[in-house]
């Protein structure tokens, strides 16, 4: 029977079926950079961080930080933008043509690069927990401070790329992250309160709106 020839394909079909089962059974997180599921922005008070196999204590000072919006509203916020230079590992915050601040940062490692292009911040969180990675690179970081997630038409917000403060390493100037831009916490704090959307008093999170769009973030090589 000529149809018997097609029985040769049985193992491939079985493999395919196993793949479909496996794909449906596992919770897949496709290429999420600084994966977070917590968008409340509320800091945790008791937590333990794990980064590259080491346990770290989590700074809880962020919980006590007063929310202040003193810098916003001084000049027109729409002229403000953040430039990230990946080859120099530097971040510049521009107010029109004058430099507000510059700092060394850590962008994504070669296997988890930071995307380039023009983005807008879609949500700001005062603190959030980020968890992801596999094996030796597993990380569980509560209270990641001053997070600004950005997006554009190619990189949707759920991919989790953002700029945030960093307490688990101090290697600013060399790539170190899973795709996010790691800034020193002091710098991230200044940026957080300087950039739009405005964080209302006493709130932990701010989403960009039509009238209060997120700050522009330009990332280039």
């Amino acid at each position: 029977m000529p149809t018997k020839r097609f029985l040769l394909l049985t193992p491939i079909v079985l493999l395919f079926a196993a793949g479909v089962f496996m794909r449906s059974a596992t919770k897949t997180t496709p290429d999420i950079a600084c994966a977070t599921a917590d968008f409340s922005g509320v800091p945790a008070l008791d937590a333990l961080a794990i980064f590259e196999g080491r346990e770290l204590s989590v700074p809880t000072a962020i919980a006590a930080a007063p929310s202040h919006t003193d810098v916003l509203g001084v000049a027109s916020p729409s002229e403000r933008w953040i430039e990230v230079d990946l080859s120099d590992q530097k971040l510049y915050a521009w107010d029109g043509s004058s430099l507000f601040l510059e700092s060394a940062i850590s962008s994504g490692l070669p296997q988890t690069p930071t995307p380039t292009g023009e983005f807008r911040v879609w949500i700001k969180l005062r603190a959030t927990k980020m968890e992801g990675g596999v094996g030796r690179y597993y990380y569980n970081l509560p209270n990641v401070p001053y997070v600004m997630f950005f997006e554009n038409e190619n990189i949707p917000g759920w991919r989790g790329y953002g700029i945030h403060g960093t307490y688990w390493h101090n290697d600013f100037g060399t790539p170190r992250s899973h795709g996010c831009v790691n800034a020193p916490t002091k710098i991230a704090e200044k940026l957080f309160y300087w950039a739009s959307p405005e964080l209302p008093d006493g709130r932990y999170t701010a989403k960009s709106t039509e009238s209060d769009p997120g700050i522009r973030v330009i990332i280039h090589e």
């Binding site: 040769l8 394909l9 193992p11 493999l15 395919f16 596992t26 290429d31 296997q111």
Partner: protein, 153 residues
């Protein structure tokens, strides 16, 4: 030397396939081997890429925390496309030319081992790659569409 090995481990399989195909078509004049190989290689490529999309298994070097010794795609580890391509070619050639087939099989095994040593694949990925590759080779040999079957050696 290191970057030479790195490149050989990444692109060597394409060089290997291209040179065998050129040999079959132009030098040995085995058009049937050429077309069977071509079809089985293309189908092995498609099948492995689909399987990679289904099994989202991270690469061993990511888990063990070492630098990869060969180039790779951002796709899943399972199964190995490099191995599937090499074995699709090797099985097709072996079905037609036993002696030359042994050489091609040895080179295909080298491709597979290189991927494991470089830390971009688990041995399990290699087995699946061999399975897909050999089955593609056998399948296109069995259905054999087209002209009269060439004489086997």
């Amino acid at each position: 030397m290191n970057s030479y090995l790195f490149n050989l481990n990444t692109h060597g399989v394409f060089l290997f396939i291209a040179s065998v195909l050129v040999y079959e078509y132009f030098i040995a004049g085995e058009r049937e081997v050429f077309y069977h190989s071509l079809f089985s290689i293309i189908s092995a490529l498609i099948i492995t890429v689909i399987l990679k999309e289904l099994f989202t298994i991270p690469r061993p070097f990511l888990v063990e925390g070492m630098a990869p010794g060969a180039g790779l795609t951002q796709l899943s580890s399972f199964p190995s496309t490099h191995t599937a391509l090499a074995f699709a070619l090797a099985s097709t050639v072996t079905l037609h030319q036993k002696k030359f087939g042994v050489l091609v099989f040895i080179l295909a095994t080298a491709v597979a081992l290189g991927r494991v040593i470089a830390g971009v694949h688990y041995p399990m990925d290699i087995f699946a790659g061999v399975l897909v590759g050999v089955l593609c080779g056998l399948f296109f040999d069995t259905i054999h569409f087209g002209k009269k079957r060439a004489k086997r050696r």
